[in-house]
């Protein structure tokens, strides 16, 4: 696993209060019991951690850990 994914995972664990083992690429936010507010919170934490800026409309269709990770990494 890349260093970036480890940082991403740490944010997800902190914000979503899930186990590290649950933060796998194919996991959906629904399966992690994360609602839309959780997703916004996660994005805010990721923006801080990675020093990137994510616009509201970019979150459309972001339903999985992989999709969220790809979105953040695409901005680095």
């Amino acid at each position: 696993m890349s260093d970036n994914f480890e940082r991403f995972k740490k944010c997800a664990v902190d914000v979503l209060s899930v186990d590290e083992a649950q933060v796998v690429p194919e996991a959906t936010f629904e399966s992690l019991d994360a609602d839309s507010l959780d997703l916004v919170e996660l994005v805010m934490a990721l923006e801080e951690e990675f020093d990137v800026n994510v616009e509201e409309e970019e979150l459309d269709g972001v339903n999985t850990i992989q999709a969220a990770y790809d979105l953040v990494v695409s901005k680095l």
């Binding site: 609602d35 507010l37 919170e41 805010m44």
Partner: protein
Amino acid sequence: MVNERVVLVTGGNRGIGQAIARRFAAAGHRVAITSRSGAADDTDGILVVNADVTDTASVDAAVSQIEETLGPVEILVSNAGITRDGLVLRMTDEDFTDVLDANLTGGFRVARRVSKSMMRNRWGRMIFISSIVGLGGQAGQANYAASKAGLIGLSKSLAKEFASRGITSNVVCPGPIETDMLMALTDEQRAAMLSVVPVGRLGQGDEIAAAVEFLASESAAFITGTVLPVDGGFSMG
């Protein structure tokens, strides 16, 4: 003894805002107020921060200063407001939009800024100071009444968005309260106002503060999205 919280009262340098700030401070909370001039009288133990709620960067800087000095804001009392009265026929676009920007959008800017830390802490109280004018309208105050009515929709939406995070949002609608703003009216205007207040007197700032303090308390955790008139019975119809 109360659970000591960090309280921000916008526009807390005079009138109702000042009464609210003093009541929270007297109860043992850590209180900050914002004012446009940055100056405030009799501010023992109350942090005074300069802020213009019509300016997002100014709000951000003020809240950051409070966070550094007192800690993250846990109780927000959104009270800052202006009036620019006039009959609709003579009211300019600026008269209308300036009042909306300060009273309504200002409340939104501050709420947005403090909601982040409230969400993180899974605890927060937002109390918006509206007005009975926002419930019933007022000739000569279309702009002010619209802004105060708007706070109700804002607060209820915040209540729904943040309900799952231990954050409540409520509105208090003061009736005629003995403040500089009201004392600027003529005796006749004041008498007319009193004639429609069943309790038959003006309210005191601290009577508003008491309601706000309750809504901010641990005991009020199940109260959210409400509108509470504190008006001597004026708005019951």
